[in-house]
């Protein structure tokens, strides 16, 4: 009976039209298998090549926004791996971002160790911390909102720890010492150097690559099976805990990379900037606005959310006639930012990319 062959209906073949794939590359659970065109990789290369030209055309202030987009993108991509594909909602990704930032800064400032070593150390520590936390949480059956609260508490514990820890400079945090000459090895360039952007772009590419490879891998598929129904997955022989912890480790390591980029570019980190709740929010909002559980969602979310607060601020600095009374009031730009965010979540519940993909592929 194993030599039965299956002929797909023509209707099904139309679903895999390469034109459709190009518009909407495969996302979660819709990964290509075998010898189809690897659109994800092609699109990624195109985005990186196109994105690399930005410093030649953009102003200094635009480049500052672009740097924020890159940091958001790495965090969103990282968050999406465990929360989107793995189904474990993290409300404390600041923990992993902060571990990356602090590992880099601590090793550089106190021991003059290269930020690249610091980045690898931070990624390893973040992965181990995430697995330790998640093992305990899942061992004691914390799921859904309770798991999210545990992750939130974990980030807060780290923030308070950094706040009160002498070797971590307490609330003062770390300032990266300025060097005389530029150095790749020490990840430092003159102010406004495009190299920060290009290195950040490579980091985003690496994060995307990890995400795509993960989703296409067997481990990624098993992780999504566990997300969809952990009991059914276990009944089919899958060790749910193993795949969940793998997703957490990958997610935490990717997010820690954003911490390194942040601290080397802004040359400063303190407990709130590293472990504060707003950092966790940035990771969540980026992925949710773009589309959780999709490969490209977090990247789209970062491109939209990165400039948004600047756009709302700029808009209210010179508002149109009918909004003139709002000008010059503190906080109104943040209210506008929030309104835009709420509108996106209500009107596009699957995120910007998720909704578009849903329309194109009819799923």
């Amino acid at each position: 009976m194993n030599n039965r062959t299956f002929a797909p209906r023509t209707v099904l073949q139309e679903r895999t039209d390469p034109v459709v794939d190009a518009v909407a590359p495969k996302g979660a659970g819709r990964t290509t298998v075998g010898n189809r065109v690897p659109w994800d990789y092609i699109v990624l290369v195109a985005i990186i090549v196109f994105g690399a030209t930005l410093p030649f055309v953009a102003t200094v202030s635009t480049m500052a926004i672009a740097m924020r987009v890159l940091v958001f993108a790495i965090m969103g991509i990282g968050w999406n791996i465990m929360s989107g594909f793995g189904g474990m909602f993290s409300f404390g990704h600041a923990a992993y971002f902060g571990i990356g930032a602090y590992s880099t800064a601590l090793l550089l400032v106190r021991f003059e160790i290269s930020p690249w070593i610091g980045m690898l150390a931070g990624m390893a520590i973040a992965a181990l911390a995430g697995m330790g936390l998640s093992y305990l949480a899942l061992r004691y059956k914390l799921q859904g909102a309770y798991y999210a609260m545990a992750t939130f508490a974990f980030a807060e514990v780290l923030r308070l720890f950094a706040f009160g820890n002498g070797p971590l400079h307490r609330q003062t945090g770390f300032t990266i010492p300025v060097r005389v000459e530029e150095s790749f090895w020490m990840f430092q360039f003159k102010a406004n150097s495009p190299w920060y952007y290009w290195i950040g772009l490579i980091m985003v590419a690496a994060a995307m690559l990890v995400s795509i490879v993960f989703v296409r891998s067997k481990t990624g598929r098993y992780t999504m099976a566990v997300r969809d129904d952990d009991v059914a997955a276990a009944a089919l022989g899958l060790n749910a805990l193993r795949y969940r912890l793998t997703a957490v480790a990958v997610s935490a390591a990717v997010t820690a990379m954003a911490g390194t980029l942040y601290v080397q570019y802004y040359m400063f980190i303190d407990p709130s900037l590293a472990f504060g709740p707003s950092v966790s929010n940035d990771a969540i909002i980026t992925a949710v606005v773009g589309g959780t559980g999709t490969i490209w969602g977090p990247l789209v979310g970062a491109v939209v959310m990165g400039p948004l607060s600047d756009l709302t601020t700029a808009f209210l600095r010179n508002p149109p006639q009918w909004l003139a009374p709002l000008a010059g009031h503190d906080g109104v730009d943040i209210i506008l930012y929030a309104i835009v965010l709420i509108a996106v979540v209500i009107l596009l519940p699957k995120g910007i990319y998720g909704t578009i993909r849903g329309k194109v592929t009819k799923r």
Binding site: R221, A232, G237
Partner: protein, 243 residues
């Protein structure tokens, strides 16, 4: 040869005795039907055997090896699989991707080979029309058979089926029954199945076990069990005797 041996299995939930002292022995290639009213402990028995939760006392062994309280995924790996009464699809995946999961995991197949095996499995249960549809949006009759297809892709030696026919219209039931008979015949799969549809119980079972209030109250040949006065009383009520 005895494949599955359950001895003195008991389980209670906060004072409610769900299982008390259940014994059941299943021989290789045998098909055993479990019948009983709702709440008789049939699904609890499956849950205790397959590691969904550990029993309070008693033992379960597979091929003579003690497997009491072993986790569900290890048992599935060892060849003891189950289906669920309620459908549990991987709802973001297509039908064929659902069946590919056990094919890849259990048999270490490449994605392409796993797809072939998954296609075989879903063709066997007759849902190949929906192969590339996302499972979350499909009707119950398809999902019910997907449960079975996924287990087929796993290729277990012992299969515990929890009401596989429920939710299927009569025309869909016969092919599933044919399939289960073929599975025993061609692959030598041992099966224990919970079922309320008596025609199916009569057709498939080598032996029937009747459960009531967590206990096995009758066991043996189909006709003998169904004509047991105690069974008649539970299934049809006392009024039936007086009538």
């Amino acid at each position: 040869m005895t494949v599955l041996e359950i001895h003195g299995l008991s389980k209670h939930f906060h004072g409610l005795k769900a299982l008390s002292n259940v014994d059941l022995t299943v021989e290789e290639g045998e098909i055993v039907g479990i019948i009983g009213a709702n709440g008789a402990g049939k699904t609890t028995l499956f849950n205790c055997v397959t590691g969904a939760f550990p029993p309070d006392s008693g033992s379960v062994s597979l091929d003579g090896k003690d497997i009491t309280g072993m986790s569900m995924h290890r048992l599935a790996g060892a060849g003891l699989a189950r289906t669920f009464q309620l459908m549990r699809p991987f709802s973001t995946m297509t039908v064929v991707e659902n069946a590919m999961v056990p094919a890849m995991h259990q048999h270490h197949l490449s994605a392409a080979d796993a797809r072939d095996r998954a296609m075989d499995a879903i063709a066997m249960v007759g849902i190949e029309t929906w192969a590339n549809d996302v499972s979350g949006s499909l009707p119950a009759g398809v999902l019910k058979r997907l449960e079975l297809a996924r287990v087929l892709a796993l290729e277990p030696r012992v299969l515990l089926l929890d009401e596989v026919l429920a939710g299927l219209v009569p025309a869909e039931r016969t092919p599933v029954l044919d399939l289960l008979e073929r599975l025993r015949h061609e692959r030598g799969v041992t099966m224990v199945f919970i079922e309320h549809i008596m025609a199916a119980v009569r057709r498939l079972s080598d032996r029937v076990v009747m459960m009531d209030q967590g206990e096995v109250i009758a066991s043996g040949d189909v006709d003998a069990v169904l004509s047991d006065p105690h069974v008649v009383e539970i299934y049809l009520g006392k009024e039936y005797d007086r009538a």
